[in-house]
Structures are given as structure tokens and as C-alpha cells.
């Protein structure tokens, strides 16, 4: 890594790869010796492999979901598939259907799903999610300190969604600084 910025981005890449592989990032510490470009290429390749694994099963499940109302698909997504498999399914559903399902899912679950999602595979879905819901998910991700996840979505959102996301980040920051100043000024008992 040539610069501090490269080193920071390299750590972020290792974190993303660790997430995909469901490993602790410290286990992959040896990857710090690899250039940023090579780390990105490796992560892309691993993402492709895991995305394409079980592809026919996932495609058949996505096709079957067309028979079900969105509310039931949402319940199955939350209770049976969980965030990781739902993220794998998201890009395989018709975008309108996926958005309709997402509307029925709780924000914490959608934040979990966003962490697992490869935005490149679900760009059409992301672009259709209403800005208000994008704001709510962003607020949840900010609360969790998931800046690496948020960074992956830049470039896949429309202007309105981006504005909503930035608004949610600012609101969260204001809330935090207000909370901090209240804590500082609160009279001690």
C-alpha cells in the first residue's frame, strides 16, 4: 500500500471480503500485503463465485415467489431465508416485486440485508426503493457505524434517494451531537 488512503481502503476491502466469507477480518490480516487493486479483484471474484453458487436453486425460488403475495414473500424472507439468502435472492426477483416485498420488511432486517447485498447485482431494485425507506435504512446503518456498507451503495442510488440518505446521515449526526451536548450540560444528581 503506497499511501495512508490506500491502506485505509485496503482495510475496508479486507473487511468486505471477510463479511462475504463470514470470517473475522483479523483472520485475513495477511491480505494487507496485497495491493488495493488486487484486493478488489479478489473480492469481486469471490463475490461472483458465491453469487453464482446455487444459482439454479435461487432462480427457481425467485420464480416460485411470483405465485405468492408480497406480504407472504416478505414473511418467508424474514423468517425462513434471513438476510444473507434474501440478499442473494434480491437481484433475482422482478425489481417491482422486490421493492413491494421490501416495503413490508422491518428496517433492521433491511439494514442486515444491505450489509450482505452486492449492490451491483440489485441495482435495479435499489433504484426503485422510495427515498423515505432509503433514509430509514441509512439511519439504521449510521446507528450501527456501517459506513463501509453505505459506501458500497453510492453510485447505485438516484438523486432523490442519495439526498434522502445524506439527510438521514446529517439527522443522525445532529441527534448524536445534541445527545452529547445534553450529556455534558446535564446537572449531576
Amino acid at each position: 500500500m503506497s499511501t495512508a488512503a490506500d491502506a485505509r481502503q485496503g482495510r475496508a476491502e479486507i473487511l468486505k471480503l471477510a463479511r462475504i466469507l463470514q470470517r473475522d477480518p483479523t483472520e485475513l490480516g495477511y491480505l494487507q500485503r496485497i495491493s488495493l487493486a488486487d484486493l478488489r479483484a479478489l473480492r469481486d471474484r469471490v463475490t461472483d463465485v458465491l453469487w453464482n453458487a446455487n444459482s439454479s436453486t435461487l432462480n427457481r425460488l425467485a420464480a416460485a415467489s411470483k405465485l405468492l403475495p408480497a406480504a407472504l414473500t416478505a414473511r418467508i424472507s424474514e423468517r425462513a431465508f434471513g438476510p444473507l439468502l434474501s440478499a442473494r435472492m434480491a437481484g433475482r426477483l422482478e425489481p417491482e416485486n422486490a421493492v413491494s416485498v421490501a416495503k413490508r420488511l422491518p428496517i433492521p432486517f433491511l439494514a442486515d440485508l444491505a450489509i450482505e447485498l452486492d449492490p451491483r447485482r440489485a441495482s435495479a431494485v435499489i433504484s426503485l426503493i422510495p427515498p423515505a425507506q432509503i433514509a430509514a435504512i441509512t439511519g439504521e446503518l449510521v446507528r450501527r457505524g456501517e459506513y463501509v456498507t453505505m459506501g458500497r451503495f453510492v453510485g447505485h442510488m438516484g438523486d432523490a434517494a442519495m439526498a434522502a440518505a445524506l439527510g438521514a446521515m446529517d439527522a443522525r449526526r445532529c441527534f448524536r451531537s445534541r445527545s452529547r451536548s445534553r450529556t455534558r450540560t446535564a446537572p449531576t444528581a
Binding site: 466469507l21 488486487d38 479478489l42 463465485v49 435461487l58 425460488l61 425462513a80 431465508f81 439468502l85
Partner: protein
């Protein structure tokens, strides 16, 4: 450290770097970035195992989730759903 690995690695049964590099390349089904050659055999084998295990976990989770999902589907629709999912 890498010199030490070249002595201790084979003694512990770890793969030599070239063999581990090829195994990872096969696992990922594509040419690997050349920079990965900077990793030693043990590190490449760890990466290979991590990818393999992630694939297994995903396959197992999917099979279990498919069964769980059907429990939420109304009985009338289970037949048509099973016909699609196979």
C-alpha cells in the same frame, strides 16, 4: 518468515505456495490477481478453505431455508411451489 515457512510448512503438511495458488484458482474458476503470489502456501490454503466453506454454508443454509419456507406457504400452493423449486 517466508523462509521459515518453506521449512516448517511442508513439515506441518501445508501445501506449497504454487499448489495452493492453483487450488485457489480452481476454486474461484478464474485467473487470480498476480499479487496473490506474495502470499505463502498456508495463507493461500486458508483463503481457499474460507471460500470453500462459505460455499458449503450457503448451500446448506439454502436447503434448510427452502424447507422452512414451505411451512409458511398455504397448503394449496405447496404443490405448485414444489413443482417450480424441484
Amino acid at each position: 518468515m517466508e523462509g521459515l515457512y518453506s521449512i516448517l510448512g511442508p513439515m506441518r503438511g501445508a501445501k506449497p505456495a504454487e499448489e495452493a495458488f492453483e487450488a485457489l484458482r480452481t476454486q474461484l474458476g478464474a485467473e487470480l490477481p498476480d499479487g496473490l503470489r506474495r502470499l505463502d502456501g498456508e495463507q493461500l490454503a486458508h483463503l481457499d478453505a474460507a471460500v470453500r466453506e462459505a460455499r458449503h454454508r450457503q448451500a446448506e443454509a439454502l436447503a434448510a431455508a427452502g424447507e422452512r419456507a414451505l411451512r409458511h406457504v398455504p397448503r394449496l400452493l405447496r404443490g405448485p411451489i414444489r413443482r417450480i423449486t424441484g
